[in-house]
């Protein structure tokens, strides 16, 4: 912690961030996994998961956040989300057509109820969160480079 004391914001902001960033990540996972029984879904949950890493980067500087989630991992997760979504769609050809709901429906108001809809929610959340985090990292690195050129 003594090496991370130089960059980032003040001590109060760092302490509050250390206490709350896990709760933000957990709430994002809850929104994704309950997207078919309550309001929410893949897009909003993915943006909340990306916001937790953005929160860490704003408080501690860019080195700590990029050690938790490197850029190579972000691009890998984004490609894997797209491939997972397309793979679920192609598995429907086993029963006849594209995007067939080939898993049993179950009964309503349960967590494992709606066939392939929770799996599609997980794939979309991986894709959206990784993409927005990659965009934010690119913008922050560009800003840091231009500020170093002025000094």
């Amino acid at each position: 912690m003594s090496k991370e004391r130089e960059q980032g914001m003040s001590l109060i902001v760092k302490t509050i961030t250390r206490l709350t960033v896990g709760l933000i990540l957990l709430y994002g996972i809850y929104i994704v996994s309950h997207g078919h029984v309550s309001p929410g879904g893949g897009f909003a949950g993915g943006v909340i998961i990306a916001l937790s890493f953005v929160h860490l980067m704003l408080a501690y500087g860019k080195d700590v956040a990029l050690r938790k989630l490197p850029k190579a991992a972000a691009s890998f997760f984004e490609g894997m989300g797209a491939m997972l979504f397309l793979g679920i769609a192609l598995l429907g050809f086993t029963g006849g057509y594209f995007f067939l709901n080939f898993i049993s429906k179950g009964e309503p108001f349960r967590l494992f109820s709606a066939g392939i809809i929770p799996l599609c929610n997980v794939a979309i959340s991986l894709k959206v969160g990784s993409g927005l985090f990659a965009i934010f990292v690119a913008l922050v690195l560009l800003k840091v480079g231009s500020e170093n050129k002025d000094i």
Binding site: V47, A82, A114, K143, G145
Partner: protein, 181 residues
């Protein structure tokens, strides 16, 4: 309906303040307040999915805008020809409202003609898909092919941003992280 009108008046006042204030950071914070009021208006109109998405995207865009404007305060624009600009703006608004009034007479009344496809979704969506949230049922089961196209659009946007930023990072030899593979 009274809460909706209060929220609308608050949003209009906030937008006028965001245009007229001289400090750039205060303007960005005021835009965030307008977005929060818009999310509450969606919640009053009984659309919780749209309210959650609006709130989250508003927070992310606000953080990016603050990060972009916290070091650079633009000089205030020189107001040279304010009379001509005001006359042009008022004339354009008048023409726009005339065209809108002509177009609104040709539209059918609200709720007609009745949409039989949406009625089928509401009646049989729970039985056919098993999802309690009807928005998720329409997005990921009835209209899943459109969602696949939308994910492809986002993928292309991320690739374009990374390509543009990497060219700028290669010109700066001090920053080696922006240009690595």
């Amino acid at each position: 309906m009274l809460e909706l009108y209060i929220l609308l008046v608050f949003m209009i006042i906030g937008a006028i303040i965001a245009v007229e204030v001289k400090d750039l950071l205060s303007s960005v914070v005021t835009v965030g307040a307008v977005g929060l009021a818009l999310s509450m208006a969606f919640l009053v109109l009984k659309a919780p999915d749209v309210a959650i998405t609006q709130l989250v995207v508003e927070i992310l865009c606000l953080i990016i805008l603050i990060r972009a404007t916290i070091k650079k305060d633009l000089p205030f624009a020189a107001t040279g020809r304010w009379f001509l600009n005001t006359v042009i703006t008022v004339g354009f608004i008048f023409v726009f409202l005339m065209v809108c009034a002509k177009c609104l007479k040709d539209l059918p009344a609200f709720g007609y003609p009745l949409m039989r496809v949406a009625g089928t979704y509401i009646k049989e969506g729970l039985m056919q898909t098993g999802a309690t949230n009807l928005v998720a049922a329409v997005i990921l089961d009835y209209r899943a092919y459109d969602t696949l196209g939308e994910a492809t659009v986002l993928f292309t946007a991320v690739m374009a941003v990374l390509a543009v930023v990497r060219v700028k990072g290669r010109k700066d030899p001090n920053e080696e992280e922006a240009g690595d593979e």
